[in-house]
Structure formats: structure tokens, C-alpha cells
Symmetry: C2
Subunit: 179 residues, 2 copies
Amino acid sequence: MEVFWSAGFNGCSVQDLTDAAHVPKGSFYNHFDGKEALALEALATYAAQNDPRALLDTSVEPVERLRRDFRKRWKIVKERGYKGGCFLGSLSSEIADSHEGARAEFVRYYQRWSEAIAAVIAEAQANGTVAATADPQALGRFVLNAWQGTLLRAKTHRGEEPFKDFQAVVFGGLLAPGA
Amino acid sequence: MEVFWSAGFNGCSVQDLTDAAHVPKGSFYNHFDGKEALALEALATYAAQNDPRALLDTSVEPVERLRRDFRKRWKIVKERGYKGGCFLGSLSSEIADSHEGARAEFVRYYQRWSEAIAAVIAEAQANGTVAATADPQALGRFVLNAWQGTLLRAKTHRGEEPFKDFQAVVFGGLLAPGA
């Protein structure tokens, strides 16, 4: 995963990948059909480590739960010096056009994640902490898209500003109490 | 530009680029230091074709001007079947980590664009069509980041939904009259 995340899908070779894993190149083709299969395996590992189901833990107030989840994700990219961005975002940006099978997987990951965000928003609308005027599904998708753009900008700028803008507008505006 | 946009920076070779331009490979190195220099040249052409200075034409009401600008940009990616996304977004996602000189250019393009959006928002706040509670610079950067995430999602989903979500939340919420 680290090799794909750092170098990009087309920026690394099967040799780079097998070197990093300390396995002989021949054994790669015994286990995987090709780089795409290995990248999807890496994405599954990444997704499991960053599972949006954590958003469904109802012991924390919904908006606060969402805020903490984004803060945790931000901390991970910040500790990497903002390099790599979101692995799902970067990989899908690079190969969604050229790898149709992978594209279907990306759709699934994005949907699962934005539905988890939508569920939190719907919960906050039900308990009155967020205004019930907007469709929670549309808002959930938008917030995830804005998050992906935030990480893309941070990858270029390498600073806190994109995250602060996201926090200010999403939690100080869109999902503010009584907004 | 088309070759970089379709295949990605690392997904195309100098041979692919010179073939597309119908020039001999040798002449490439007479004109450019390498692929990075050519990619930045292509980005400059793209940026000129999609100049955010169009946002500064004050003959149209500010929020409507912004809405039309995003609709025009959406039409371009839609006509490409959503492939490629935003050339600035895709290229910066792929090589900001690995090409430091290019990264500085990406920072410049993003700043210039988000400042143009911020100027429109400040104008709308001044004439009372958008509430003056939020910092227009932060809002301008956020809207651009959300737009980049919208195009990234559209690249994966290949449908209207991300644009509709963007329109609904940005123009129906964040920049709605009296919001």
C-alpha cells in the first residue's frame, strides 16, 4: 500500500512493489493478476483501517462524532506531511478512467462512506442539532466530495489551511446548530 | 494537453506525446527539459482556456455569475464523459508529491482561482445577496476545494449527481440569499 500511496499507480513498477514486500518478482504473478488487483487489495486494507462504520457509534453526539472522525483522518495525512492525500481519492483520480473494474470498486467505497456521513446527518436532523431543510443523502455526498477536495488542496499546499476552511464552513456553517 | 489529460502524467511516455503532436522524438528534447516542463506548458494552456478572470465581469449579478461559471466548467467535463476531471486537479493529485517545481505552480493556480471566487462572494456580501457572516476568502477556498472533490467524484461515478449535489448545497445553501 505504501508504495502505491507514495509513488502513484503508474509511478511504481511491479519490481518496486515486490522489492518493498521483500518477495521475488515471480511470486507476484502467482498471487495477483496484475498491478490493478494488488492496488485493490491495498485499497481494501486502507478502507478497513479507515472504516466509516466508526461513524455509527451512537455513544457520541452525531455532529461531534463526524467532527472527530474528520479530525482523526486529518491527523493521519498531516503526519505524512500531507503527501499521498486520501488513498481512495488519489488512486481513483489516477486510474478511474483507465481501469473499469477498479472504477466500480471506487464507486462502492465512495457510496459506503457518504452513506455513513448521511446517516450521521440524518441522526443530527432527527435530534434537532442540524436543520432538517436539506436532504441528508445529498449533504452527505457533498461533504465527502468537499473533504476529498480539501485533501487534494492540502496535498498541494502542505499546510493546515484547507482543513481549517473545511471545519469553518462545514461545522461552523452547513452543520451548525440552527443553521 | 489531451494526452496528459487522458492518460495521466505517468501513464504516458514522451513517445506518446511526440506521436500525438506529430513531431520527431528528438525535437522534444530540443524544446523541453522533460515531461514536467511540457505538462506545465499544457496546464498554462488549459488555465488560459478556463480563466477565472471571467468571474470578474461585473455586468452579471455576482452569485449568478459564479453559478454560470461552474455550469460552463461542468459542461466541458460532461462532454468528455467525465473522463479526465479538472486537468489542474488530476495533474496536481498525481505529481504534487513528486515534482516540487510543479507543486509551486499548482499552488499559484489554485490561489488565483479561489481568490477570483472569493472576490465574487465579497461582491455578493457587499450587495446583500449573500450573508456577510463568513470570511469570503475562506469560503472561496472551500468552494473551490468542494468543486475539485465534485469533479473527482464525477470522474468515478460518470453521472450528474455530484454536480447536482454541489449546486444544491453551494447555491441552495451556502450562497443562498439570506443564508
